[in-house]
Symmetry: C2
Subunit: 319 residues, 2 copies
């Protein structure tokens, strides 16, 4: 979802950081959808866990590389080998291919690499607000793999092989499209479905707090990371990004303010102990002052996240 929105945005802008885009190469495990753009877009299906792929991808020496590929948390937990192969080895193959391409270029090639990490690098018990200096103790294989790639990104950057920025994205809310099976899916569902006149299931209590940013902000993060001056990052290449720490009750209030009581009445409370337990282990609030100081911007109220969804997805309000 983020990859497609990023390509659409780049196609619309035709430029990145003031420089006209000559071409774009989109790679995914399945062939990415076509997007109309003022520059050629190559589209290919590759498995980045295959060692021979990465050198082929960097052979054209792209100036900016967005590394978004991931096996999600549940799958990385269920399939140990697949999670490490894609989330760790796939990233490392890419970094190694860049290092060797730099050598082939006589030292000239050094791309910006934007890597989407995750707040899953942090593990409970948490302080009230998690700062950038809180340590990485992931409690999932997914979080472990992301934390390892953050370390590699920092070392390859420090050694001058690439110019990396790691982004720990908040949960992206409101996700457009159909409901998915992720444990976090209801945070979007209780907004998206009622706005479409449909019922939505709420499996946790109203006082559950979570960390959100809109898809629009997520794309803004990626573009800023691709164009910012990385001098201010020093050796600490990964950042916790700004978001909105909102309770479910605050989400519902925003929905009431914007879409009215009828929308809110479509939220069905169906406590689910399994989801409650999973969500209880997640961090709730972050201190993103470092990312803010480096120019990353996000919504500051949940109502703004909801309005961004309504605008970007052309939602018609019925009340």
């Amino acid at each position: 979802m983020i990859g497609r929105k990023l390509i659409e945005r780049l196609a619309r802008d035709g430029a990145l950081g003031g420089a006209t885009i000559d071409s774009l190469h989109a790679v995914d495990i399945v062939t990415p959808e076509a997007v109309a753009a003022p520059f050629p877009i190559g589209r290919e299906a590759f498995d980045i866990a295959a060692g021979y792929v990465a050198s082929r991808l960097v052979a054209a020496r792209p100036d900016a590389i967005f590394l978004l590929a991931s096996v999600v948390s549940g799958e990385a937990e269920a399939d140990f080998d697949k999670g490490y192969a894609i989330n760790l080895d796939g990233s490392r193959f890419l970094f190694e291919a860049i290092r060797h391409e730099q050598a082939l270029s006589g030292g000239a090639y050094k791309p910006r690499v934007v890597f989407t990490s995750s707040i899953a690098v942090f593990g409970a018990p948490f302080p009230e607000s998690i700062g950038d200096e809180f340590f990485s103790t992931p409690l999932t294989s997914y979080g472990t793999q992301k934390a390892i790639v953050e370390l590699l990104l920092a070392d390859y950057s420090r050694r001058g092989f690439l110019d990396g920025v790691g982004l720990r994205l908040p949960t992206i809310t409101v996700r457009p499209g159909a409901p998915n099976k992720a444990a976090s899916g209801f945070f979007s569902g209780i907004m998206r479905e009622p706005l479409a006149g449909k019922e939505a299931r709420l499996p946790v209590a109203d006082n559950v707090r979570h960390w959100h940013a809109s898809p629009r902000s997520a794309i803004g993060f990626l573009l800023h990371a691709a164009t910012m001056d990385t001098g201010g990052l020093g050796a600490r290449r990964s950042l916790t990004l700004p978001g909105v720490a909102a309770t479910v009750a605050e989400q519902i209030e925003a929905l009431r303010d914007i879409a009215g009581e009828r929308a809110v009445s479509l939220i069905r409370r169906e406590p689910d102990p399994t989801v409650e337990r999973i969500v209880a282990g997640w961090p709730r609030n972050f201190d993103a002052s470092r990312a803010l100081a480096l120019g990353f911007r996000a919504e500051t109220r949940f109502a703004d996240i909801l309005n961004a969804y309504i605008e970007d997805e052309h939602v018609r309000l019925h009340d």
Copy 2:
């Protein structure tokens, strides 16, 4: 040095955690020296960076595995490929071999794995005293590799493939033997050489503070890690170990108290800006309360470290 001392200690004890040792298998890049013991000791030369080695090493299903192998900091910085091959891939091959051996055993095999990490997982700027929750921002490839293996050790432990303990050892002082070229070598040299009636070079100022433990304490750490109840570790499998935060001046005072003015007079002050710069980037003091609560013990005064050296290496005092 630590590996040899560990084997000598195990040979002397004949047991580990109350259980008689049946056999020991010692592996290094060169064939380890023979040690007399009440149990058979296999000795072999292997490169753990070769993928086929690890499964062979765990085929006998040892109950305890000490993973001490490392390319040192300077070499890992000079030879990027070698550092990653040995410090990261070698460890991961071993963990993978254990996981597959567990599957072959029908789930029964789950060894204790004691991994020697390093305080190089931490990077400046530091707080006054570095706690176990200070984040890992290594400033060397060596520190990066150690931090990554800490993450792997925690994930493989959490998944139940092995029972891991990671130890961030202080600088081992006083190292016996000939002076070596490590930037930290003088911390031992200014004690060891004067005790032997020889001159020693001091390249930094007297107020430089560093974090020390004796070889005797290091062996104690390894044995405790191999036998402790790991229930108290939870998901946080790596520990900063207790040590003595001593200035060079405090080291010299201990030498004066124990060996007299004549020994101290053999320390030649020869400031070396390169060494001063390297040492300035190192952490100086740690909060090891978690390791202490878990039963790890070390010296608390530098004089005790010096006395341990004198006893263990049978040093004759001349004053």
